[in-house]
Each structure stands twice: as structure tokens, then as C-alpha cells.
Amino acid sequence: MTEVRLQTQALSRRFGALVAVRNIDFKLAAGARHALIGPNGAGKTTFINLLTGVLPPTRGRVLLGDRDITGLAQAERVKLGIARTFQINRLFRGLSVLENVCIAIAERVGAARSMFYPAGKRTDIIDEAMQLLQTLALADAARLRVSELPYGRQRLVELAIAIALRPTVLLLDEPAAGVPSAESHIILDAVERLPEDIAVLIIEHDMDVVFRFARRVTVMVGGALFAEGTPREIESNPQVREVYLGQAPYRAAHV
């Protein structure tokens, strides 16, 4: 087993009477390609929110490497290398694609503190942003406002912002959600081309994507871990098939 990059110990979160995340022990290896699957309402997004510090856990710990980050705020965790995308786009819609990425880079390198130095003179930032956009085939849209892009390309910007933070752990919450299936391969290609050393955890409903991309799969049901293994193990696990994969109508509805 390779080095563990991010892990949780007995992580739980309740909302009133509802236990959204129940006692989860989870390990994400360095350089992992790990998928998190489970039916709607299984607590996957809540789990991501606990990892990123959007929500405090009711119980349990989150460790990045050896460091306990349970008490750290979201912004501090980002500085330590945890980045994420959202299931529903959270972009600077009125700004250009290039600015969206520049804002993220400026924040990462600490330039955003400087109040009197023109952002336009930080050519290093702009340069880096352009190169990133080029690798994602977004360079031609760099000057467009995000709101002017088709949704599929907006999802790419969502990904670009996360990558711009140079994370060591990247949490992708249904990166292709809402994208017409004809275009979703663009996003998935980009996900596949992510640098090898980033540990990637992806929430995804499309099983074809999961089995193509992931080297490890975790199944969550009812807020708890249900099963974990290689894609092949998960696919052949009869219990998983029963609660999840076997539900043909469910799968059809999300593909």
C-alpha cells in the first residue's frame, strides 16, 4: 500500500436526527484514482464537505498526511493542498474565463494580498493561467465571460480553478453533472489527464466512467461505508449489485 495522503477516522456528521455521515474510516492514497459511489442521498457530498471543512464534523477526525486538520477552516485546508469542484458550478460568472483562473492562482501564490500593484503586471500569473487553459482546450474562450459559455465548458472552468490551486488532493463532485453526454468526454478526458501525483477522489454516477477512470472504488450507502475495493471487486460484489448496481432504472436515469 502506498502512502496515505488523506484519511478520516470515525468521521460522523448529523443534521438534527438525520445522520448524514456515519462513522467513516476512509483512506485516500497519494496519487490515487479513487471513485466514491452510492445512491442519491448516501451522504457523498456531505462527506466531501467534511473533508474540505465546509462543515464541521459532529465526531471523528480528518488527517492530511500525518496532520490533524479537523479543526482547520476551509481556506487553511486549501493552502495545505485540498481543492475541490462542486456538483453545481460555482464560478465567477460575470468575469472572463482567464480572470476566473487568475483569481485562483493569485490566491494560491499570495498575490491577492497586494493592494497597490496592478494585477495586470503579474504576467507570471497570467502566463500560468493561459498555459492551464491551453491544456484544457479553453484558451480560445479565455476572454469570454463564463456566463457566455455552454455548460459543458463551464464545467471545464470549474475544473481549471481547482487545478490552478495545485492541489495534492483533488475532490471532484460529479464533474460531468449536467453536461450533455455527447460533451461529457471532454471533461472526463481532462480528469484522466490530471498529473499522476495528485490524489483524486471523484464522485460519479456513471459507472462506465467509474470503471474506466478509477483504480479503487468506495461505495457509500445511508451515510456509511458499504464496500471498498478495485472496480472489478466492486462490480462482482453481490451485495453492491443488489443495493446499487442492480438497480437498472436508477442507472438509466443518471447516465
Binding site: A75, L98, K121
Partner: protein, 354 residues
């Protein structure tokens, strides 16, 4: 790269970044020729309308006040109904220091006004800015009402409802005295103050800090998710905005040589909001356009047909909210885009970046 550089951009081709988007971003902070226009107009006004210089002072003060609001509202997206609190704080700081002959020098007086308003902005912002939406609206509104009532209560020092008349304001640089009957010195002083504050703010909004403020306005949750210390940024911005509003208030007190409760009422807060949105917020020059249009209309209409002015203003606001959210400048930009739509797609794409 899929975008070809146009022939006119040969000079930039040597730069490491060849994309027009990158070039636009790298040039955005540079001063354009047309940006001299407002200042030339301001100087021309001095010579062309010598009888309207006190109106001119009001105009300059309103522009400065609207600019300060633009920083908080237009850039950081802090929706406040109580910005007159800081205008009033600055005005009363200058007014009380002058009345009791503690401090009458105008330039340092404005710095003190900025300090007082900035401190109030910082302290109130520290607690208020945690909230959003209606709660924030209410809290800013109540903070302003609180200051207004405090000024009303402390009538022994503030003059209460009647205010402090005939403020003794010292000469600028010890040389240029304010003329109580003819506002020529006041006008030039106000124009200079506005210029300095504008340059300051322009620098600020084109910095990476300013860029991060627009990020907060556009999507605060995303800013958290990229590791931005959002709360601190917003507080810094709010404090600077408050200090600038304080300068505007102090300038108002100096140029009028009086202070009264109208400096911090809902009327003034609503008016500056209207001025800014009329011109177009988040655009630097919206404050200029809005103030000129609003005050000119008010000056000529409100005295003759006060009710018609109010009716017209109401209809205008409804129209802007429904159809022209970018204000006059936004409307102009939309028209410009529509006409330029006949040009190639690439050109349109180039203008899309703000």
C-alpha cells in the same frame, strides 16, 4: 493556440503571452486617454459656470461618496443601506473639530474624517459583515439610524437637529482661504481631493486585491473554496470604503461650512445608492455619470416640479431594476456590444472581457 493574433497586435507578439485575453488583462490597469475627460470637464466647469460652483462642490462630493459605495457594493458586493453613517461620521468629525476650534486645517481635517469613519467602519464591519441578505441590510440601516439618533441626542455637542452652522475652515496650505460667498477655492479643493481619492481607488480595484473583491462579489462560496480569507478581505474593503465615505462627508462639511443631521439619514443613504446604480456600479465611472445625471435633473426639476421629479425618479428606478441593471454605463455597453455584433465573432469576444 486556436486564436490568431490580429495584425495590429504585432507589438505584443514578442511578449510571452499571445492570447488577446491575456493582453487585455495585462493592459486593463493602464490609463486610457479618455480617462482625462472627467477631469478636463471638471476644470472646464470651473471656468464655464462660475455661478454654479457650490452646486459643483455638491456634485464632486456626491461623486466621491458614490465612489466609496462602489468599492463596497460594486466591487465586493456588500449590499448596504447605511453608507451615510460614514459620510455623517466624517462630516461631524470635521464639523465638531472646527466648531470648537480644535482643528480647522482642511487637509488633515479630511484625514481625521477618514480615520473616524474608518474606525467606525472597521468596528461595525467586524460584527455586521458576518451576516448577509436582509439581516445585513437591516444591520447597516440600524447602525446608521443609531448614529443619527446619537447625534440627535448629543445636541450639546452636535447642535442636534439644527446642526453646526458657520464652521471656521482654515485655508488650504495656509494660503487659499475658503470664501463663504463664492465657492471657487472650495471647488478646486474638492476636485483635487476627488482626484486623489479616485487615483487611490483605481489603483486598488485593478490590483490583485481588487480582483479578489470582484471574485467575492461574483461567488463568495467559490472564494472560500480557493482558500481566500474572505472575511478579512471584505472587512478591509469595507473599512477603506467607510474611510472614503468619511472623506466625502468631511469635504461636504468643509465646502458647505455646516453640518446637520441630513448628513446621516436614510435619505442620503438611499440617494447615493440611486446615484451609483443609475450610473452603473462596479465600473469606477458609474459614480461620475450617475452623480452628474441625478444632480443635474434634481437641480432643474426638483425645484420646479418636485412631485414630477419624484415620479420620474421612481419610474426610472423601476426601469433600471427591470431592464437596465448595469445603469447608464451598462446600457451604453450593451448598445455598444449590439452594434459591434456586426463585426466578427472574435472582436465581440474581445470586448466580452470587462
Amino acid at each position: 493556440m486556436s486564436v490568431a493574433a490580429s495584425p495590429a497586435d504585432d507589438a505584443a507578439a514578442a511578449a510571452p503571452i499571445e492570447n488577446p485575453a491575456a493582453r487585455a488583462l495585462m493592459r486593463r490597469h493602464r490609463v486610457h486617454g479618455w480617462e482625462a475627460l472627467p477631469w478636463l470637464a471638471g476644470i472646464a466647469f470651473y471656468f464655464a459656470f462660475p455661478d454654479y460652483l457650490s452646486f459643483g462642490c455638491d456634485l464632486l462630493v456626491t461623486i466621491l461618496f458614490a465612489l466609496s459605495l462602489d468599492l463596497a457594493l460594486g466591487y465586493a458586493g456588500i449590499i448596504t443601506l447605511g453608507h451615510a453613517a460614514f459620510f455623517g461620521a466624517g462630516a461631524y468629525a470635521v464639523g465638531m473639530l472646527a466648531t470648537y476650534n480644535i482643528w480647522t486645517e482642511p487637509i488633515t481635517g479630511l484625514l481625521l474624517a477618514a480615520l473616524v469613519a474608518g474606525v467606525i467602519g472597521f468596528l461595525s464591519g467586524m460584527v455586521l459583515l458576518r451576516t448577509r441578505g436582509l439581516t445585513l441590510l437591516m444591520l447597516t440601516l440600524c447602525t446608521m439610524a443609531l448614529l443619527e439618533q446619537a447625534a440627535n441626542m448629543a445636541a450639546a455637542y452636535t447642535g442636534g437637529f439644527d446642526g453646526l452652522p458657520s464652521l471656521p475652515i482654515g485655508p488650504v496650505f495656509g494660503v487659499f482661504a475658503f470664501n463663504p460667498l463664492y465657492a471657487d477655492t472650495q471647488y478646486l479643493f474638492a476636485l483635487s481631493v476627488l482626484f486623489v481619492c479616485f487615483v487611490f481607488m483605481r489603483t486598488l480595484v485593478y490590483s490583485a486585491f481588487g480582483q479578489s473583491l470582484t471574485g467575492i462579489r461574483e461567488n463568495i462560496l467559490r472564494m472560500h473554496a480557493i482558500g481566500s480569507p474572505v472575511r478579512r478581505r471584505v472587512l478591509i474593503c469595507y473599512t477603506i470604503s467607510a474611510a472614503m465615505a468619511g472623506v466625502a462627508g468631511g469635504l461636504w462639511a468643509q465646502t458647505n461650512a455646516y453640518v446637520n443631521l441630513s448628513a446621516l439619514g436614510l435619505d442620503r443613504a438611499a440617494t447615493v445608492l440611486i446615484v451609483l446604480i443609475l450610473g452603473g456600479y462596479g465600473r469606477l465611472y458609474g459614480a461620475f455619470i450617475g452623480a452628474v445625471v441625478y444632480l443635474a435633473l434634481e437641480h432643474f426639476l426638483a425645484q420646479i416640479y418636485p412631485t414630477a421629479w419624484q415620479l420620474g425618479l421612481g419610474i426610472l428606478l423601476v426601469f433600471i431594476a427591470l431592464f437596465a441593471r448595469g445603469g447608464i454605463l451598462g446600457l451604453a455597453e450593451a448598445l455598444w456590444r449590439r452594434y459591434s455584433g456586426k463585426l466578427s465573432r472574435r472582436l465581440r469576444a474581445e470586448r466580452a472581457a470587462p
